[in-house]
């Protein structure tokens, strides 16, 4: 009984609102600082990147590019008049600045060296864009060979939502569903595609099936990932691994796919799309964890940002939280686990960048969607103090016979040895033209057996597993040896593929 009270006490300290600037839930050792944005300027962040000299460049929805001198904490405007600049990339050697805006990728050149760009050079404008407000262009990452990558939002095409009939092109609902189910469409070329632009400026449609792909990220091996929002054909928010020629689920983009040329996309049976579909590497359960995820970013700070080196962080534009992902390569394909990390910041988190000190900068925009925190836009930093090890789930990896869960600190043996302390729920999702999907076939289970490693930092949860399911693992009852509970005690593992004994 005493232990329980102690635990509750710690829980309250971690999870109750302490001050306006302090998130409800934040792992021990992490701190949030709010950066003042330029006074009287709308500042819906669209992209963030550090220049080689340490200046932070931020492009905004309003069309500005701001430079922040981090030491002197001074803002200056580098460019303006862009059309919703939602991504930026700066050459780490030459300091060349590239932004992606609705109509094009633009290189911003300060030819007279006065500190502001005077030449707005079109680098690539090969995709179609109309005045449909959903036709965002997101980016911008570049691989080591010098190829750029970005993602193109579908058009808002359903006349019930759109202002004009002219965009009512490429909506897909398929037979047996009412036509109103297809909400997004393709009013111009390559909407719903991820693209590559080669060093010589050639545009290559790279992967299809995207809906509202608000964030793209790249790892150190040049592997690409993007996040998508729940919607028509999208059961829930999701994280996907982009591979050339992959189809990520939303069929409108197939209008520009050579194999579908001249075909009526609504006459193609849904099963055919499903066969082609590469499932998300990680489902981000809508409502539980995120509603509109932003940019995924990998922690390559070498431990400066805490014990999660190599893992991925994703902010959400609606719930204003930061999530943490650990990918698990199973039989050649990525799947993995997602946790909440900080919940929540001052407003919607959409763009993220690490500085050289290992501080995570979080670019924010609320965009009128009533993001948690309530601010309209902003910029915050998340910093680890460099010494305090938070008590946290570190990772969840699939095993042939269950999940291997690791913690940052040894767990209390007595609790960890009882399978009843690890309740699990799992479910599937529909693949259909409807807006989002309910959880399908939700089942509850208790692991058959738990085995705790010698150092008490790893627990194997044994159970029978099913593929194409999301497993929600609940560690609310688990404590470490000091009786501390976990700040974020839930883990959602997307199981697309089962692991075999000798994988």
């Amino acid at each position: 009984m005493k232990t329980k009270w102690l635990a509750l006490g710690i829980l309250s300290a971690n999870c109750l609102l302490i001050g306006q600037q302090t998130p409800n839930c934040i792992p021990e050792g992490y701190h949030v600082e709010t950066i003042d944005t330029p006074p009287d300027e709308y500042f819906g962040v669209g992209g963030m990147e550090f220049a080689p000299n340490g200046d932070l460049f931020i492009c905004t929805r309003e069309g500005d590019v701001w430079r922040y001198e981090t030491k002197g904490r001074e803002w200056s405007r580098f460019a303006d008049g862009l059309h919703e600049a939602l991504g930026i990339w700066i050459d780490p050697k030459s300091s060349d600045v590239f932004v992606i805006q609705r109509p094009e990728i633009t290189q911003l050149i300060d030819s007279d060296m006065d500190g502001t760009a005077d030449l707005y050079k079109t680098f690539n404008a090969s995709w179609g864009v109309t005045d449909n407000y959903h036709e965002y262009a997101f980016g911008l990452v570049r691989d080591r060979k010098g190829n750029f990558y970005g993602t193109l939002n579908t058009s808002l095409s359903w006349p019930g939502w759109a202002r004009s009939q002219k965009w009512n092109i490429g909506r897909v609902w398929t037979e047996g569903y009412p036509a109103s189910e297809g909400k997004m469409g393709r009013a111009a070329k390559y909407r719903g595609w991820g693209f590559q632009v080669t060093t010589d400026g050639k545009f290559i449609p790279f992967a299809s099936g995207m809906r509202s792909p608000a964030g793209i990220g790249i790892n150190k091996d040049d592997e690409l990932f993007f996040t998508d929002n729940q919607g028509d054909w999208g059961a829930s928010s999701s994280l996907h691994h982009i591979v050339k020629d992959r189809f990520h689920g939303h069929p409108s983009s197939l209008m520009d796919h050579p194999e579908f040329k001249g075909k009526d996309l609504n006459k193609i049976p849904i099963e055919e799309y499903e066969k082609r579909w590469s499932r998300p590497a990680v489902w981000i359960p809508h409502g539980e964890l995120a509603n509109s995820p932003g940019e995924p970013i990998f922690d390559y700070t070498g431990g400066k940002f805490g014990p999660f080196t190599g893992q991925m962080f994703i902010g959400d534009q609606s719930r204003s939280n930061i999530m943490r992902v650990s990918l698990d390569k199973v039989r050649g394909e990525y799947q993995g686990v997602i946790f909440d990390f900080i919940n929540h910041l001052q407003t919607g988190c959409i763009r993220h960048v690490f500085d050289g000190e290992g501080t995570l900068w979080v670019g924010q925009t609320g965009r009128g969607w009533l993001s948690a925190g309530g601010k309209e836009y902003g910029l915050q930093q998340v910093r680890w103090d460099g010494k305090t090890l938070p008590y946290s789930i570190h990772d969840v990896k699939l095993e042939p016979n269950g999940f291997r869960v690791s913690f940052t600190k040894p767990v209390a043996l007595k609790l960890a040895e009882d399978p009843n302390n690890f309740p699990i729920e799992h479910w599937g999702y529909h693949y259909h033209p409807k807006y989002g999907s309910q959880k399908v076939g939700t089942l509850k289970l208790i692991p058959r057996k738990t085995s705790v490693s010698e150092d008490a930092k790893t627990v194997l949860l044994e159970m029978d597993l099913e593929k194409k399911r999301v497993y929600k693992l609940n560690f609310r009852k688990i404590r470490n040896r000091n009786g501390e509970s976990l700040v974020n005690h839930l883990a959602w593992y997307t199981l697309n593929r089962l692991k075999k004994q000798y994988d």
Partner: protein, 359 residues
């Protein structure tokens, strides 16, 4: 004798104004299209001597009226509707709600008006109704029993938030170049250019033509770039036809729609657009000229051997002047040797329309 009398009367009047009323001053902020202060407080029923100091580099007027902000929108519209008479009337419309007004005040000048404050406590808005200014140049005259009790209210903070939200973009001493979507302009890639002269135009980076010109204020991006967005940007001025259809520059053959590529623009000085027409590099810059419906386009064509054609719509514009070429109906044919740098002025034949209607 009469002069003396007049002098005496004015001196008396001046004296009366100085000693016989409440002194209030309203200024303008330089380059911001804002009043300063944006809230004034006056006693109920008092005689008010208002000094209007225009520190801005643009012309402004000032009128105080009874009514809400919607009513002020209506007054601004009425001022615009004065059209050609507007300049003479100082863009002050006739309306019974107007309590006091000062017509056009040149940059750096001052003007005065005396009037009786309303007998009823309340908020009375003031506004500049010079075309394009009314959206951001607004304030409140608070009428109260005792102004000394209403100190905090003179801070314009609340209004500054409103200003920020209203999304109007103004042109100061440097041109503005802003990507936009306007109602009625079916282009995903159009670029609004606002020049310090008060002229603006829309360049279509897809069809490579100037789609329209306008004079007055520049643009408002509120519906597109605030909140959820989804709306269109609007024009804060009086627009007129450019008379230029898609792909107006043709190399060699005026009937062939060319292969084109947009290359970007320079903002060093007057904005210059770069593009290719059938592989030939073109530079284009545009300016406006009085009396209000004329745009002048300067084209620089990279060296090549064919004649260059510039297409326009003679039903919408009159080709008022050109530095090179031979005019045919709707076409200007410029010899290859003259095409390196030529200028075309087009005067709109339409009467001009206010802003851009929302679809």
């Amino acid at each position: 004798m009469i002069t003396l009398w007049l002098l005496l009367i004015s001196a008396l009047l001046l004296l009366f104004q100085v000693v016989g009323g409440e002194e209030v001053k309203i200024g303008t902020l330089h380059g911001k299209l804002r009043f300063d202060p944006e809230i004034i407080v006056v006693p109920k029923g008092a005689k008010i001597n208002l000094l209007f100091e225009n520190q801005d580099e643009m012309i402004h007027n000032l009128l105080i009226a009874k009514g809400d902000s919607k009513h002020i929108d209506g007054l601004a519209k009425k001022a615009l509707d004065l059209g050609a008479r507007g300049m003479d009337l100082g863009f002050i419309p006739e309306d019974p709600s107007i309590i006091a007004s000062i017509g056009l005040v040149q940059p750096g000048e001052t003007a005065k008006v005396s009037f009786g404050a309303p007998d009823e406590n309340g908020d009375y808005p003031f506004v500049c109704t010079f075309p394009g200014h009314a959206l951001s140049m607004r304030g409140i005259m608070k009428v109260v029993e005792d102004p000394s009790l209403v100190k905090a209210a003179t801070s314009p903070e609340d209004l500054s938030v409103k200003k920020q939200k209203n999304g109007a973009i103004q042109v100061g001493s440097l041109p503005r170049v802003v990507r936009v979507h306007f109602a009625g302009v079916d282009s995903g890639r159009s670029i609004a250019v606002g020049l310090p002269s008060g002229y603006s135009y829309l360049f279509d980076a897809e069809k490579l033509n100037v789609r329209m010109g306008w004079k007055g204020g520049f643009i408002n991006v509120n519906n597109d770039r605030r909140g959820r967005g989804g709306g269109l940007c609007s024009i804060l001025g009086k627009r007129f036809a450019s008379g230029i259809a898609a792909f107006p520059i043709r190399i060699g053959d005026p009937t062939k729609v060319p292969e084109t590529r947009f290359l970007g623009y320079s903002r060093a000085g007057n904005p210059t657009f770069y593009y290719e027409v059938d592989g030939i590099r073109i530079e284009q810059s545009t300016t406006g000229s009085p009396p209000g419906k004329e745009l002048t386009h300067n084209f620089k064509v990279a060296k090549q051997k064919d004649d260059v054609f510039f297409l326009f719509d003679p039903e919408k514009v009159q080709l008022s002047s050109t530095t090179a070429g031979k005019r045919e109906k709707g076409t200007l044919r410029v010899h290859a040797k003259d095409s390196a740098n030529f200028v075309v002025s087009l005067t709109s034949l339409d009467k001009g329309q206010e802003g851009s209607p929302e679809l």
